[in-house]
C-alpha cells in the first residue's frame, strides 16, 4: 500500500515570494508521482508528473518539483507566486507496475498568497 504525507495543511506566502510545498510518500514498490491543483469550486488539474527520466520536473504555471528517491519526497516549488496561485495543492502517487492501480492522494496543502 502507498501513503502520501503533506505536512503543511496551510502555507501563507506573500506575493512574488518563493514557495515550497512539501510531499513525502511511503511505498513498498516504485511509484509515479503527481501534483494537482484545485481552484475553489473546481476539479483537480494536473500541474506536473514524474514518470521517469530527469528528477527535476517542470509543470504548468511556473511550478516545478524534484523527485528525491532516497528521501521519498516530491516537493513542489515556485520561485515567485502570484495571487492567482491561491488554491489547494494535492500530491499523489500510483504504483508504476502497470495495470489498474489506484491513485493515492495526500490531504492537500492550501496555498494562500497574500497581496
Amino acid at each position: 500500500a502507498q501513503s502520501v504525507t503533506q505536512l503543511d495543511s496551510q502555507v501563507p506566502v506573500f506575493e512574488e515570494a518563493p514557495v515550497e510545498l512539501r510531499c513525502n510518500y511511503s511505498s513498498s514498490v516504485s511509484v509515479y508521482l503527481f501534483w494537482y491543483v484545485q481552484y475553489p469550486n473546481q476539479g483537480l488539474q494536473l500541474l506536473l508528473k514524474y514518470l521517469s527520466g530527469s528528477t527535476l520536473v517542470k509543470g504548468i504555471n511556473g511550478f516545478e518539483a524534484e523527485f528525491n528517491k532516497s528521501q521519498t519526497s516530491f516537493h513542489l516549488r515556485k520561485p515567485s507566486v502570484h495571487i492567482s496561485d491561491t488554491a489547494e495543492y494535492f500530491c499523489a502517487v500510483i504504483p508504476n507496475s502497470g495495470g489498474y492501480q489506484k491513485v493515492t492522494f495526500g490531504t492537500g496543502t492550501k496555498l494562500q498568497v497574500i497581496p
Binding site: Q42, G43, L46, L51, F90, Y100, V103, F105, T107
Partner: protein, 111 residues
C-alpha cells in the same frame, strides 16, 4: 468543449432519497473513476471502470451503485441518502501516460 462533464453541479436532497450523478468524457479514454472528497478535502477513490467493466470497487456502502452504459459514460446512483454522504463527488478519466482528467465536481448536500 468540456473534457469531463458532470451533472448536476449542485444537488441538495433530503435523507432517504435516491439520486443519480452523471458523468461523460469526450476524450476517448477507456478508464473512468468516481472519487469522493470530504469536508476536509480528502480524496478517496470509490470505483473505477475500464471500457464498461468494473475494475476497482473500494469499501463503499452498497447504496452506491455505479453504471457504465458505454466507455464514455460513468454514472453514480445513490440509494437511501444519509447525512454522511454529503461531499463533493468527482468523476475522472485516465488517458495515456497516467494523464488523469477530472470533472468539476458535484456538491451533494443531504439535509
Amino acid at each position: 468543449d468540456t473534457a469531463v462533464s458532470q451533472t448536476p453541479k449542485y444537488l441538495v436532497t433530503q435523507m432517504g432519497n435516491d439520486k443519480s450523478i452523471k458523468c461523460e468524457q469526450n476524450l476517448g479514454h477507456d478508464t473512468m473513476y468516481w472519487y469522493k472528497q470530504d469536508s476536509k478535502k480528502f480524496l478517496k477513490i470509490m470505483f473505477s471502470y475500464n471500457n464498461k467493466e468494473l475494475i476497482i470497487n473500494e469499501t463503499v456502502p452498497n447504496r452506491f451503485s455505479p453504471k457504465s452504459p458505454d466507455k464514455a459514460h460513468l454514472n453514480l446512483h445513490i440509494n437511501s441518502l444519509e447525512l454522511g454522504d454529503s461531499a463533493v463527488y468527482f468523476c475522472a478519466s485516465r488517458g495515456p501516460n497516467y494523464g488523469y482528467t477530472f470533472g468539476s465536481g458535484t456538491r451533494l448536500t443531504v439535509v
